[in-house]
Symmetry: C2
Subunit: 319 residues, 2 copies
């Protein structure tokens, strides 16, 4: 079995705790590191100073390395990178932007760089840009998502055919069973978001955590396709988005109205402040399978137990 | 490992060749049976007399049992069932309708009955209706599809939690690797469509088979969501559907125009007659991974080789 991911990040289990805006701060990243997996601080909409605070705090909570997840869409990414580098961070997961933009710079500073992709062509671009590994994220994942709508089941083997660097599968992975599935599809590791959003150490508001626990099979849907596709928990805000998308308006007018509806701080309002009606609640399809809010060490131990169970039950031969 | 599916259908490998309208006739079903898996004649739009011809022909091509796939939406299903029963068919896969409608009748006639589902609530209804197993079909599958858009990765574990009868996973399964993934997720067997559509024995027109081989990661998309969601290869007909769906018309008018555009025989025109521009070409996301047109026995042997490889490579323990 591939040791590529455990070796690359010097971790015990080939599991990445996905960077999640307003959900994965210092506490979750450190708890992940202490549980033997890679923790990521989701720098998303963080002001550079807030990111610094989270990095310094995480360093007091664990002696193990952790990383920073950086969507390249946002304005202050240069400052975020400078602060993270100065604080000693050596692992960067970038997403939502050109993988060529920062990879060489970060590699020259001795960092490990991973970029998030949702299709095999972008994965090839990432490899050409010199990243160490890619995250391949399927349609079922929470938050921002690719327009090709490739599911984890079909995405991983397609990416495997197009690149030779390590692949971290993401999207729909909430148990050791789906983790094992990702490995059989050709992944070298997994990135898990939603399952870890509903843990004790996640920064998500308790209302949001409870709504993940209560979520059913039809609780999430890919939304805002006319702007940037994002998988959301269906609430009042989601419905307002759908009303605009399904209205008989032209595309430009729809985009204007969506941007205006989104405004500022919608995600913070929902995920951090717990406004379940008017907040933006980013979560994956796998929410329908999440039934509790464990501590991270317990959650990781359970994933490994389930993985072993799945692995032992898979037959080597038929008949 | 579960022997439920091989025992239920008296087959060597726990693989079902999915019933595909205009693609899985006598030749494909018989070749499947001869290769050690369950073959299904896709009765879809067949006139009862044509179905009879296919059943009788398949019986001359194999001595093994095979089944009939029956979408319950169509008009002549009672005649189709009567003809199949009279010809000695004992295995029925039903879909797109109420599982209670024919299950008891067919069970009373000594048949094995399986119903196709795309969500855990319908799966429970199927179990309550007395079916012997269910097919759980994810968003990545070709052809008709559920409105919840649950992918195979999240669907199988959710269904596993809601029922105790055997589960046959479908959607995105085109190799022994994805087959192994389905088993780790909790499936007892797999149903494969697209991969078998591009075989020597499939009735698909050679043009359609070649377009499957040429398909890339972005070649299919879930379409006709305003009518009945169906995953299609993107061609001119697909684009005409999209133009209606994206137009500023109200839902009722969209439906009228879609029904009018669809007309009669669109699927036959595309898949059987090879009209790649104006035909309806139903195929799964996994088309992007299909590179050749093998004979069925070779195709099944390859699936099993790949499954063994995936199974051997999955570690029992981390460390």
């Amino acid at each position: 079995m591939s040791q590529k991911i455990t070796t690359l990040f010097k971790i015990k289990y080939p599991i990445i705790q996905g960077g999640m805006v307003w959900v994965s701060g210092a506490k979750l990243a450190a708890a992940s590191a202490n549980a033997g997996i890679l923790g990521l601080i989701g720098a998303g909409s963080m002001e550079p100073e807030l990111l610094k605070k989270h990095i310094l705090k995480a360093q007091t909570l664990t002696e193990k390395p952790f990383g920073v997840n950086l969507p390249l869409l946002y304005g202050k990414r240069e400052e975020q990178i400078e602060i993270a580098l100065n604080a000693g961070v050596k692992i960067f997961f970038t997403s939502a932007g050109d993988p060529k933009k920062f990879t060489k710079f970060l590699k020259d500073h001795g960092c490990v760089v991973v970029h998030v992709t949702s299709n095999p062509m972008l994965a090839k671009k990432c490899e050409d840009a010199g990243v160490d590994a890619i995250v391949a994220e399927g349609f079922e994942a929470g938050g921002h998502n690719g327009s090709e709508e490739l599911t984890t089941m079909t995405l991983i083997p397609q990416i495997k055919k197009s690149i030779s660097i390590p692949i971290i599968a993401a999207g729909g992975i909430g148990s050791g069973y789906s983790m094992a599935a990702a490995f059989t599809l050709g992944a070298d590791g997994v990135q898990i978001g939603s399952r870890f959003a509903a843990t004790q150490e996640s920064s998500a508001h308790i209302n949001f955590k409870q709504s993940i626990v209560q979520a059913s099979h039809d609780s999430t849907m890919l939304s805002m396709k006319d702007l940037i596709p994002v998988r959301l928990l269906r609430n009042q805000f989601f419905q307002e988005v759908q009303n605009i998308e399904n209205s008989p308006l032209d595309l430009e007018e729809k985009k204007r109205r969506l941007i205006s509806l989104l405004g500022k701080g919608r995600a913070k309002r929902g995920m951090l402040e717990g406004d379940l009606l008017n907040g933006e609640l980013e979560i994956g399809q796998v929410a329908g399978l999440i039934d509790d809010i464990p501590a991270m060490d317990e959650c990781v131990a359970r994933l490994i137990r389930e993985f072993h169970h799945a692995s032992k039950n898979l037959p080597l031969h038929f008949s």
